[in-house]
Amino acid sequence: MKEFISHALDVAKAKGARYADIRIIDHREQVVTVKNGNVDGIGDQYSQGFGIRVLVGNSWGFASSAYVAMAEIERVATLAVKIAKASATVPGEDVNLGSSVTSTGQYTTPIEVDPFSISLEQKLDLLFRADEILRRNSGVKVSEANAIAIRNHKFFSNTEGALVEQIIYEGGGAIAATAVSETEVQIRSHPNSFRYQGTSGWEYVTNADLVGNAERVAAEAVALLSADVCPSKETTLILDSSQLALQIHESCGHPTELDRVFGTEAAFAGRSFLTTEKRNKFRYGSDIVNLTADSVRATGLGTFGWDDEGVPASSTPLVRNGEFVGYLMSRETASKLALESNGCMRADGWNRIPLIRMTNVSLEPGTWELDDIIADTEDGIFMETNRSWSIDDMRLNFQFGTEIGYEIERGKRGRLLKNCTYTGITPDFWKSCDAIGNSRHWRLWGTPNCGKGEPMQTMGTGHGASPARFRNVKVGVFR
């Protein structure tokens, strides 16, 4: 492997690159999906290849190939330089990568049980058991259960002397029940909507207790069909930690990506309202709001040893006591603010360039017990588990929907509500936060499907949160 790496970097330098890096990746993924008592999908996916990124003058080029062979490495390195030279015909600002990155070492996700050591028979057995319980409820039209295991083995090296090897494991699984009436569809999921994943071994699936939650999930899906519709009004909103995780992802994680701030995602993923003059001078949320980006917390989908520029994993405050203080950064963007990268460059495969991506962006725990938040709420709605999401290109105007909700009346959880939605403007919303659950209620969730970049890249990000309360929120947007 070292021979391939050295040759790629030597060719890039010889052709004129002032900086080059290479990633060689071997990706294995195993997915099992059971639906309505049948296997809906099952199998292994393998992908291997390499990508070479070069900087010629102040212009970037990148080329990649699935064919890991010496002759192909030479062709691809040469092509990357040719592409960079073409980029130079439409030039921009000088590129400064800041301090050299010379990381060396190995990192492997700490796991208890290798998810690939669990046989497909064992995985199917677990999923069939959960699926069977979902289907016991005659009101369930579609029952689903899935499990996933990922092993990503990658090498990174650059012309500055970095050489790191990482094996990142991911494990996950989830169940969902869909109930259907003449006029509508209701879904309940566990532990979360989308796939539930973490950098972990099979223990992540075991701990999710899919079988133990199946009966409740089925019953809730069916009950939602006859539940009252979420009222339209301005009220107090309490979000469970999984919905709050996606709120953080969309309204804090994305706007703190420094490439968006500099406009390089303007045409696709969008820009950000958190422009550079606001750093350390802008009230993002109330005094109790503290948001952190890290790549070190156990099981986070943004947890690793080094990012895809070889920068070590770290932890960075983004919002401290309500004030906006930090960004997610690459080497190139950090240098524009006279800062060093905090290691947020990530690519979703060998055939994609690294982009600034969220690592684990989390709301730090507060001091409240969830029961006390509810008891302290005269009138409001508790919403749980994401169902829909949308936010504008500056990350200000958002609208979310959840699978389930409950009315809060005089400090007590009341009637079940369906089709719950809420909308707001990001800083107004976070400034209205007046209660955050304590560390007993804090949970690190995974979002495995974050899209960004062209060609599109799908990245897993982590988000920790406790339930929290927000005042004067518009709910029930569409009845």
Binding site: E29, V31, T33, K35, N38, V39, D40, G41, I42, G43, Q45, Y46, S47, Q48, S59, W60, F62, S64, S65, A66, Y67, L79, I83, A86, S87, T89, V90, G92, E93, E121, L124, V142, E144, V180, E182, E184, V185, G263, T264, A266, A267, G270, R352, I353, S388, S390, I391, D392, D393, L396, N397, Q399, N419, T423, I425, E454, P455, K474, V477, F478
Partner: protein
């Protein structure tokens, strides 16, 4: 290794009752620009081979991008081993048999051979035009050549080589922006000069937007916004799997007049007016499917699995690639909203009070059964008053049933635009005028 060699290597190694090989070989290059310079410039060469092994009614899937003969043999064995583990699935009626295929030309050597220098020259035109006007351009140009092959042990052998060119830009002024996009299988379909001019015209029109009260208004949608109507309706239920599972907007509406009689939506994989594909990912020839005819909901599209669940149904040639993650179900990839006879200018002139909208952004389903969607307007939203564009407004959020929106289609544009679609295909869409569209909030 060419597709026939790949298919033969897998078939020779397979012990399964039935075996299918799908290979998608791709050479894709993308030049991306922002702030009037190229900041990302990439190319990729890859092949994805998907093997489906069938033992009685059990299916195993294995996917790889390694074409070495020994790896292809291992792939066949892995898919077989996976199939062995499962219980029978009586709903699966087997892989489709071979059918006569018609080839369609969709390959342009100029796209396949497009160089990084040519892409840079094209996006450079946009960047310079934007800079000359004191604006900032961002966007991308993609050139792809793909070879898709499907073969199965029943005798299916289908291969289609095609190209795709796409160029788009958002150009930003002081407080306004404009968007333009071109897609086609020929390089001539993307033309940077007109692309930049179109986006810049919206920048000029949109300068100094004002707040606007959300509510229900008539709207005139540019084709970019119309494309979202078709794509979300496709996602929310033009496939038979969604209908069979009761989560489609077509449930309970087939045979009913649910949209205005000037609305006809068809999927036509052979039409050279779009990005043609002659067959689906099971090698079944694509049939023309009227999804909505003169406002009446007619039929979803089928693959062999969903067709096998209903008596007398045949696949319409709309299978998506098999995946270990589960069945996505059949999907239309070549949608056309039939053109009408009204120009955008005439639509605006006939509007007493309403909004003219360039495109929608970040749209997501709120309620699938009615295709209720929320999203934002972007890159040019304008008030129409007394038949004229009065002034620009800030972007608005809408929450609206797309089925209901098309019930109030008052006019359909006389020309259509082909646009790359999220399904990997394309949509061909005109502008539309809708009498009612519900806006639920605004942004800053």
């Amino acid at each position: 290794m060419n597709f026939r060699q790949i298919a033969e290597a897998v078939m020779a190694a397979s012990f399964a009752d039935e075996t299918e090989v799908l290979a998608m070989e791709q050479n894709e290059s993308l030049t991306r620009f922002a702030n009037n310079y190229i900041h990302q410039n990439v190319t990729e060469r890859n092949v994805q081979i998907t093997v489906r092994s069938v033992i009685e009614t059990k299916i195993g899937i294995a996917v790889s991008n390694d074409v070495r003969p020994e790896r292809l043999r291992e792939l066949a064995i892995r898919a077989y081993d996976v199939a062995k583990l499962q219980p029978e699935n009586p709903e699966f009626k087997g892989l489709p048999p071979p059918q006569a295929l018609t080839s369609v030309k969709a390959f342009d050597g100029a796209v396949a051979e497009c160089t990084p220098e040519q892409r840079a020259a094209s996006v450079g035109i946009i960047c310079r035009k934007a800079a000359d006007r004191g604006c900032s351009a961002a966007g991308s140009m993609t050139t792809s050549s793909l070879n898709v092959g499907v073969a199965n042990s029943k005798g299916v052998f289908a291969e289609h080589r095609f190209t795709l060119a796409d160029e788009s830009t958002v150009i930003m002024g002081q407080n306004s922006s404009g968007w333009a996009q071109r897609t086609g299988w020929q390089l001539a379909a993307v033309e940077a000069e007109s692309l930049a001019d179109e986006a810049l015209s919206k920048v000029t029109m949109g300068a100094d937007p004002v707040d606007f009260e959300p509510g229900e208004y008539a709207v005139v949608l540019d084709p970019y916004a119309t494309a979202d109507l078709l794509e979300m309706l496709a996602y929310d239920g033009m496939g038979a799997l969604a209908v069979q599972e009761g989560r489609s907007w077509m449930n309970g509406r087939i045979g009913q007049r649910i949209m205005a009689d000037n609305v006809s939506i068809i999927d036509d994989g052979m039409s050279t007016g779009g990005i043609p594909w002659p067959f689906d990912f099971e090698g079944v020839p694509k049939k023309v499917v009227p999804v909505v005819a003169s406002g009446v909901a007619v039929s979803p599209v089928y693959d062999s699995f969903t067709a096998g669940r209903e008596d007398g149904k045949q696949s319409t040639g709309h299978a998506t690639p098999p995946s270990p993650q589960g069945r996505f179900g059949p999907a239309p990839m070549n949608l056309f909203l039939r053109a009408g006879s009204t120009s955008v200018e005439a639509m605006i002139k006939s509007t007493k009070f309403g909004l003219y909208i360039t495109r929608f952004w970040y749209t997501r389903t709120v309620h699938p059964r009615d295709a209720v969607v929320t999203g934002m307007t972007r890159d040019g939203t304008f008030v129409i008053r007394d038949g004229e564009i009065a002034h620009p407004v800030k972007s608005l959020r809408f929450t609206q049933s797309y089925v209901e929106a098309l019930k109030y289609a008052q006019a359909i544009g006389e020309t259509t635009r082909v646009l790359r679609s999220g399904f990997g295909g394309a949509v061909s869409v005109p502008a539309v005028k809708l009498a009612k569209f519900r806006f639920t909030s605004s942004t800053r």
